[in-house]
Every structure is written in C-alpha cells, then in structure tokens.
Amino acid sequence: MRQGYPATSIDEGGTAWYNVVRGAHETVAREGSLIQVRGGRWRPWIAVLVYLLPLLFLGLFFFYPLVEIFRLSLAPQGALDLSPFRRLLSDPYYGRLLGFTTGQALASTLLTLLVGMPAAYAFAHYDFRGKAVLRALTTIPFVLPTMVVAAAFTALLGPQGHLNRGLLAILDLLGLRGQIQGPPLQLQQTLALVLIAHVFYNAAIIVRVVGGFWANLDPRVEEAARVLGAGHWRTFREVTLPLLLPSIVAASLLVFLFCFTSFGVILVLGGPGLATIEVEIYYQAVPLFNLPVAAALSIGQMAFTYAIMAFYTRIQAKASVPLNLRPSEATQKRPATLGSRLIVWSSVGGLLVFLLAPLLALVDRSLSLEGPYTLRYYQALMTNPTQSFFFVPPAEAIRNSLLVASTTVALSLTIGLISAYLLTSPSAPLRSILDPLFMLPLGTSAVTLGFGYIVALGTPPLNLRTSLLLLPLAHTLVAFPFVVRSLLPALRGMNPHWREAAGVLGASPLRVIREIDLPIVARALLVGAVFAFTVSMGEFGATLLIARPRFPTMPVVIYRLLGGQGALNQGQGLAMSTLLMIVCAVGFVLIERFRVGEIGEF
C-alpha cells in the first residue's frame, strides 16, 4: 500500500523505513527544532506566544472546567464539604453502579477479545486477496458516532428489526407462528444488546493492535522453539503468547476504558434500567440537577480512568520494546490448505458480517421502515410537524453539525499543529511533560467535560453559555488529541536535514516551508482535519449536555427522534443516522487513503 511516499507504520512500510523514521526522530531530538533551523531569525517571543496557545487553550477549556467540578463537589457552599462523597460511599446504589459499570466493561472486553483474536490471527498470518480493504472495513465502526451504532442495532435487532422479521418468517414456515407473543428476539433494553454493541465498536482495536503486533513477530522465534522440541500448543503457550501478551493487555485495557465510560450506547440501547457511571453523571447533572453528586461521580471516574491510562502507558512502553520485528511480508503466507482457508474465511468473514450487517440493516430500514421502499423519512427531515418550540426541522441539525464541525476543524488544526511541533521539540523534559498533558482530554469522559462546561463556562467570569463557540470548543478538546496523533508521525519523520539541504540549495525559509514542510505534512494535516471533522460530527456525550435546545446537532436529533414515538420519528432517526454514517464513512475512507503511519498510536 505505497502511496506518495512510504507509510511509517511497521505493519505496512516495513521495518527499514520504520527505523529510518525513528532515526530521523532522534536526529530531531538531538539537532534542533524548526525554529533553530531557520537560522535564529525567528523572534523568540513570537515563538513563545505561539507555543503558549495550546497551553492557554487547555488551561481555559479543560483544566478550568475540571477545577470548577472539583470546587463544586468538594466545597459546594464555599467551605469544604465532603457530603457528596459520603453519599457515594454510604448509598449502596452507587456501589452497585460501580459494580455494574466495571462488570459490563469486563464482560465486553472478554467478548471483544473472543471475537477479535481469530481475525487478528488471520490478518497477521495470512496474505489473501483484498486483505487491505477487508482490514480497513473492520475499522469502520471505530469512527462511527454512538448514535449511528445505536440506530443500526435498533434496525438490526430491534422488535421490528431484520433479525426478528427473519425469525418470524422462519417460524411462519415451520407453522409455529402462533406459539409466541410479540417478536421472538427481545433484546431491546437488555445488557446483551449493550455488550453486542460494545464488541461491535471495539473489535477493530484488537484486530489492529494485537494483529499488527502479531504480524511483525519474528516467525523464526517460533521456529526455534519447534526445532527445540516444542509442539504447536506448547510453542504458543511458552513463546507466542508471552511475546504477544503486552499487546493483548494494552488492547484490552483500551477496550475496557472505552466500555467503562460508555455513554450513548447505554443511554439508547440499555434504556432506563441500565446505567454506567457516565450515564449516571448525565442523569444527576441534567434531569435531576444534583450537581454536587454529579461532580463527585465525575471525580471518582476520572481518578479511575487516569489510573488505567497510566497503567496502559506503561504497558504500551513495554510492548514497544524492540523485539526483533520483521516486515509483515516475511511473516505471512497464502492460505494454501483447506484448513487455513477455512480459518481465514470463518474468522474474517464472520467478523465482517457481524460488523457490516447492522450498518446495512440501518440503510435498509431507513428506506423501508413500514414495508415498501420510500424516501419519505428523508423528506420528513426537512419539516417540523410538531411545530414545538424546542424542535427545529431536523435538517437544520445537519447545517448545525456542519458549522460546528468546520469550526472544530479550524480550531483543532491550529491547536494540534502547534502542539505537535511542541512535541517534536528537542527538549526531552518538555516532551515528557507535554505528551501526557495533550493526551489527558482523551482520557476524560465527554459527559464530564460537558458537565464541566455547564458548571464553569455558564457563569462569569467566562460566560459562553449562549456563545455559538461553546460546542466547537468542546469538540476541539475531544478532537485535537487525534489531530496531534495524526501529525506526529509525519513531523517526527521529518529529517531536519531535508530543510537544511533545501536551505543550502538556495531555498529561503519561506520557500523551505512551501517546498519541504507543507508537502510532507500536508497529508497528515488532511487526515487530522478529517479526524476532527468526523469526531465533531459524531460527538454525543458533551454535546447532549451543552448544546442549546434550539441548536441541536445531528447526534442529538437522532437521540430525540429514536426516543420519540411512532414510525415517523423512528424512520427519521434512522434516516438521519444513515446520513451521518455516510459522512463518517467517507471521512474514514479519506483517513485510510491519506494517513501517514499508524494513527492507532494512542
């Protein structure tokens, strides 16, 4: 998959290029940053001001809201008051909440491993036709908004869903139709549906992280074990598994973290009976308006997720200990025997059916909710039949989403580009402080963030409650870590000698930027932009809390429509979800086409 210039990922570009990039990165670290290269002609204070921008942004729109949450929960009336925490500890309801949140996350993680590992194995060990496309397809769910996934599973597994209708048709054939009441498969608002959705979401992480690592594992290590007398199973247990374990643990932690803070999926598919801490924060903050308890829950959850993040970072560092990795071409073979073909077809095929069926069902149902194919739900999006004040024509939400997303792109590219340059700075202490700092928003739940905005930015001194910028700001915070991660491989792959060579050959500093920096970083910038766009289009947790009722975005409208009664609401919800899915899928294709290196480098 070679494009303009080689991918930097170890699983696609081969280890040689990977080493070149690593070497170049070390050179950057040793020999100086962009600013020095420009011959010291930059005014230092301008650089400092520019570089302060991301920190200022994080300070105002991330740390300030978090501090306000702390203040609210620890000292609601000004004096230190720990009663919200005492309530959390004494009320058994919150114990059960933590138990359920952890339990469902654990179960989801195990199921995801079960579903993802066979495909990871097949992708890692076999080279088959269309592999790149198939593997890319498995990643689609990862970029889909939760509302789209919720709608898709409703379309596939809901009472009127394809599966139930199929089952009914079979029962009809067998003449057993009369023996059951209602739809044969009643999954809505059950834990099972939530778990299925979580697996759907996260299987790609296992396939990418574990599969990517597995593909580069030197097969000669296993061969050595075989020669020394170990059987297949013994080799796997004593050699392969231990080598693979760090990547399995790292991937599992990531999946666990995502499921632990799951919001949209639980809210829509789980119904009122099921709540994670994240959902509870929302209930406490918005319908119940019990801000101190919501704040205390947020803090508890943050402590927990950061502990996992810290653990994850350590595991990841360990997983990246340079084993003797080999380019994947050297580790893979074509599935020649019947058995190996069976493995590939069942694992990869099964996974793809599981991942694509809900999406196809969504498109199909949005066109044929009540039987015949029709575009009426799409047409209905333009109208506001209820004429209620709070409901705007759903189509307006499309406009809102586009507006917010483009603003988010502009903001997060600016902040992200500066941050990425900061992270390639030659000062190692600076990097080691800033790197986790810029990743912090990724580990903070969206609902907490939205809640923090309500608490902090709705009141003076910084009142943005009615500002149209509030949503883009929140989305930027969620999106800019992705932008940074997209840009970093390209920037780190920049050999400072390229700029110097251009300078020596007669290119002025501006010309160097135009001829060297821009063309090389352009693709990464595009990928960052698309990432920011898709993240913003699909962001639900924070948006639900802070979007003004008259200014809903697409996911908020989908949530409202799916919660509404009647076929028209449902149909419009599915139609809107389909539109959103198409936007995100297009974005995903662009990302896959243009990315430099592995963006899964979270």
């Binding site: 210039y5 011959g39 020596v504 007669g506 290119a507 010309r511």
Partner: protein
C-alpha cells in the same frame, strides 16, 4: 589566494567547547579533508561554514568577504549530508533540479543540467525513480548530483561514504575524487577514515577534541605525525619511548638500543621523546641485522594473513608490543612463541618530540 578562510572559530554547547581556535584556508580548486574521530567537532565546523550554525567567535571569510550576515540560502555553497537528506516526496530528477529551480532557471535549462549531472554520476535514466527505492550507493550519487547541479562555489561533504559498506566505499572513494577534480570544484570533505582522507584530499587537517592538531599534505601527515595521538589515529601503533642522549652526534636511547637518527630540531639533551616505527619497514633477518640496520628481536605473539602481507605481532624483550607488515614463504611462517629476528631500516623511524601518551582513544 585563498578562496575560503576560516579564522579563530570558537563554538561550545553548554559548558563544553566543541571547536576552539580553528583557523585554516582553502585554496581554489583544492580538496581539503577535515579528519578526526567522531565527536571531534568536524561536522559542526562544516555546518558553521554552511551557515546552518553560528560560531560564538571567529569569522568565515569567502573571497575576502565575511559571511556572517549572509543567510544559508544566499551563500551558494553545496552541502552533501551524511544521510544524504534526499527529499522523499520528490523523484530523482526533482531532487537534482531543486537547487536549479531556486536559481530560477528555465525548465529547458534545468532538464538539460539534470541529465548532465545524472550522467556525471552514472545514473542516466534514473530521472523518474523514487529516491527511497534506490540503493545506498545510488542515493549517494543522487545526493552528489544534487549538490553539484547548481554549480556551488564551494562543496562540502559530510562523511559522504560513511553509511556504505566497505566494497562500495572503496569503489566510490576513487570515483568521487575524479568527479570532484573533473568538475574542478573547491571542496571540504569531512571524514573519520584516514584512507578516505588520503585518497581524496589535497590537504588534510586533523582535528581532535575541537582543536586542529596537524595539517599538511596526506604524505607529510602520514610521514611525520605531529604527536603520538595522531600516529595512533592514523593506525601507526609502534610507539617506543626514548630519551635524547646527545646532540652532536644526535643519539637516542630506547628499548631498541642507542640509535643514531637524523637530528630533530627543538629538542634538548635529556628530553623524553617517542620513536615511531613504521610497520612496513622491517625485514626478516637470518643471523644478524643487515649492515646499518637496527636489529629487533622478539617472541612471536601472532601472525595473521592480511592478503597482501602478514601482520606479525611480536613481544619485544623490553615489554614492547610491536607490529610489522611482512611477507613470508609458507615454509618460513613463524609460529606463536618462536624467537624471531628482524632487521629495520633506520629511515623507517621518526621521532616525535613528546612522550608516548596514554592509549587514549577519543571515540
């Protein structure tokens, strides 16, 4: 007249000086080699001349004009990086054309010059190739073509053969000198490999820890190393401590006996000196050393075949380890522990006006 003059350059990183009081001249059309172990500051010196870094003191003067105010891209110099720094997003032709485009040449001129340059380095027909598909040697040639294309007033080469394997290095080393001489470009060549320096340079400047320790033609430098450090750095390891015992006639006492040697200026009687014994100047002796030659007797420690000669290492009785390059017939081949007598031409010994230093190797 010197084309380029470097005057009293000083540069430090933090508390450590990387370049101290560096001064030298480069004459038009000459190749000057900066030779030194890694970390001696030679690359930094090159970057200062190119304008990529600034010296804290001293000047770089080109044709009697100080360069300090001239930014990198206006100097009109060429620099070939050790890692070549080929632009990965441009093909071979676009890489070579880059400097020409900066000079705003017309497309036709550029195209012609690019093919000329590619022909010069032996890469005809490589125009549309992607640079990361090329082998190391091909990349090296593209980098050379790119630096030469704009017709630089001065070409600097930073260890251009450093990342190539031995055979390719030998081949390109010879080729590089003919290309540079054909073009007639003035060049500064940085390397840590004395063979490269000797093969390419008109003049050699040896750097150690940021200071110039010797300069001269390759032949002079090899013949008369200025210090035992330089001698060792050049691969001359037979260093024998001695003491001047007489001025007229000039005589030196050492483990090799009392020797009458050509007089060395600036040394007093009783002064400690170092004798440098050339490895190629010994011959196998039967009973006694040839007339006028110096006898060297020792125990064979190792004798290893090196292709054109054998490397004979012996333990001399005074506790010295000496190495000589000799030819043996198969039946004469000495074995470990054999006593051996060698006969050494006295011209093969040079005197260094200092004691042998510790076997310090910087890098």
């Amino acid at each position: 007249m010197a084309l380029l003059e470097v005057r009293s350059i000083y540069k430090s990183y933090g508390d450590t000086a990387v370049l101290e009081d560096i001064s030298f001249r480069v004459d038009e059309g000459k190749i000057v080699c900066l030779l030194g172990p890694s970390g001696c500051g030679k690359t930094t010196l090159l970057r200062i001349i190119a304008g990529l870094e600034t010296a804290e003191a001293g000047e770089v003067i080109y044709q009697n004009r100080p360069l300090v105010e001239v930014p990198v891209h206006r100097r009109g110099f060429g620099l070939m990086f050790q890692d070549y720094a080929l632009f990965p997003h441009k093909d071979v032709a676009a890489n070579v054309a880059f400097g020409l485009r900066m000079q705003s040449q017309t497309a036709a001129q550029i195209e012609q010059r690019v093919s000329e340059m590619l022909a010069l380095v032996g890469l005809e027909g490589y125009e549309a190739r992607r640079v990361y598909d090329l082998s190391g040697g091909e990349q090296q040639r593209v980098a050379l073509a790119r630096s030469l294309a704009p017709g630089p007033r001065l070409l600097m080469l930073d260890e251009p053969l450093g990342s190539l394997d031995r055979a390719l290095r030998e081949e390109l080393m010879n080729e590089l000198r003919s290309i540079l001489k054909d073009v007639g470009v003035t060049a500064i060549y940085v390397t840590h490999d004395q063979q490269e320096a000797f093969a390419l340079a008109d003049r050699v400047i040896i750097l150690r820890q940021g200071r110039i320790v010797q300069r001269g033609t390759p032949q002079d430098v090899y013949r008369y190393p200025a210090s035992s450090w330089v001698a060792r750095f050049l691969g001359l390891s037979n260093l024998v401590p001695g003491r001047i015992v007489g001025r007229t006639p000039f005589a030196v006492d050492s483990a090799l006996g009392r020797l009458a040697l050509p007089a060395l200026d600036g040394v007093a009687e009783g002064q400690e000196v170092t004798l440098l014994v050339r490895p190629e100047a010994a011959r196998l002796a039967q009973r006694a050393a040839e007339a006028g030659h110096i006898p060297i007797e020792g125990t064979v420690r190792r004798c290893s075949f090196r292709g054109s000669h054998y490397l004979l290492q012996i333990d001399h009785e005074a506790g010295l380890h000496l190495e000589f390059e000799l030819m043996f017939r198969a039946e004469d081949l000495p074995r470990r522990g054999d006593r051996i007598l060698l006969s050494l031409r006295p011209e093969a010994i040079s005197l260094l006006a200092e004691e042998p230093d510790e076997r310090s190797q910087d890098g």
